[in-house]
Symmetry: C2
Subunit: 306 residues, 2 copies
């Protein structure tokens, strides 16, 4: 008797985010994760944070992990993960836990603190799916002190871009003689996903790294950094484009850099208003994260140039 069938049948198309298909077919992502898992997790009992359909869990047991406990809080997805794990003959080695890792209890859900963790809770802007808060919680409550974690390190890379078209997806002023600017009250706070290659845009600076987190051994706490970025050509800065760079294992990286062809879009933070920059001009940015979002603000010094 299939006890999961009722839940699976109740779930509908609308309960399952569309990006799962692109993610499962992302061969770069899949290969890098499989290689990193093979390098770091054999012999270990592993937590798969946000297991989705269970692909990474099944990778893990097939390359030698001892047992995988996968948690997935979307009931439609965890229900189908149970079916897929069973269909692939891995039900004895992969346990599907249909809830958030924040609700897992030692003994009740997992026998003891685990030796490994794998997660792909990265949205285009690194933090939006709860990567940092979930890994931090797992290290405190669910893992051994020396646990191996994939990804082991992660940071963002950012640059200034010019793109009226992208800016216009988050801002409106006048159309002919009609003033629509009141509507900007509903502009996106923070960042939103944009597949850069789908829009006309120009880079106005080189890339810089920020918000580097050592997920395996370092502190995972709210942080604020100041960064200077220099315009490499004159133009109108409409926003900051950024993406993550993750070291899954030594020598194995994954990034949604626009030069890569992963399923992820890039993250865009629009400036409040477009800002003219000249070649060689330096702008100071405050970049802050409370672990669940990332905020960019021009420092006073930069704003004075506006």
């Amino acid at each position: 008797m299939d006890i999961d069938k009722p839940a699976a049948l109740r779930a509908t198309f609308a309960d399952v985010p569309r990006w799962h298909f692109g993610m499962l077919n992302d061969s770069v992502r899949n290969r890098q994760y499989r290689n990193a898992i093979a390098k770091k997790l054999p012999g270990l009992d592993v937590l798969d944070l946000g297991m989705g359909t269970g692909l990474l869990s099944m990778f893990a047991v097939r390359v030698g992990a001892r047992h995988v406990y996968g948690c997935e809080r979307n009931p439609a997805i965890s229900s189908i993960a149970t079916e897929i794990v069973r269909a692939n003959g891995e039900a004895s080695r992969v346990t599907v836990l249909g809830r958030s890792s924040h609700d897992l209890r030692i003994e009740q859900d997992i026998p003891k603190r685990l030796g490994g963790l794998v997660t792909e809770l990265m949205d285009c802007g690194m933090v939006g799916e709860g990567l940092l808060t979930s890994v931090s919680h797992a290290r405190r409550h669910l893992l051994q002190d020396n646990a191996r974690i994939i990804p082991e390190q992660i940071e963002i890379e950012f640059c200034l871009i010019q793109s009226e078209q992208i800016f216009n997806n988050n801002h409106v002023e006048h159309v002919d003689d009609i003033d629509l600017s009141t509507f900007n009250r509903y502009a996106t706070p923070g960042y939103f996903p944009v597949r850069l290659r789908a829009w006309p845009f120009r880079y106005l600076s080189g890339r810089k790294s920020a918000l580097r987190f050592d997920l395996e051994r370092g502190e995972i706490t709210a942080r604020e950094e100041l960064h200077e970025i220099t315009a490499t050509q004159p133009g109108i800065a409409h926003g900051i484009a950024f993406w993550f760079r993750a070291q899954l294992a030594p020598g194995i990286e994954l990034s949604n850099d626009p030069q890569e062809s992963t399923h992820w879009a890039q993250a865009i933070h629009c400036l409040e208003r477009p800002q003219q920059v000249s070649r060689g001009e330096t702008i100071e940015l405050r970049i802050a994260t409370d672990l669940s979002k990332i905020e960019f603000t021009l420092s006073d010094r930069s704003s004075k140039h506006a």
Copy 2:
């Protein structure tokens, strides 16, 4: 005292779909609508179906419509429309009705049957925002018999495309030795939006028109059509791409044809499985609409070729 302020303040970013910004900044859309309104609606009392922020309503009164009754069922949007209409000094000529047109009553909401209608309730696949059902309802219950309607005619244009990448956003099979095909239970039924220029793809046929509706004078009822489409080159058909062609007024057209640069994506209907086609091969498609969705099915004759 601003009686709409509380509702507006309660509404949040999440209540307002992001595409509003791109739509309001779509200069092709705006120009064609303004021109069509100037041609058809002066002197009339007009219904604006799905008024959004009220841009089309304000176009209408500024080019000579007598009064516009705009309906908008999203309370966050109708509330801000009230503010924007007032900020532009048009509150005496544009009435914002914060509900669906299906809930409007003569005398209670509008004084009598109206002489004109303007709507831009078109999603990428023509019918998904309720264009056909709403215009049909308005003609029966809210408009005079000879009312002028924008758009006056609309149809779709479709073609066969090859694109493994687009297909992979709606379908998954194996990843290495792991079978994920159970997940296809959650593949999109019907069509989904894809900005064609953002993905690698090939046209495998020319374009054909279907599902033409005369919104101003014709019957707006569920319909099924059979169409033959001939492959102009050999390849693997992954799906059908389609878009609308709307005649807003005589000589004034609007389309989300991928060769145009509007804010709309195109609509994609994936085939159940990819199908090899040879140059000159003819495929028969059944194209049906119940007015709220559009479905494509390969006829038996075509399936036998698979």
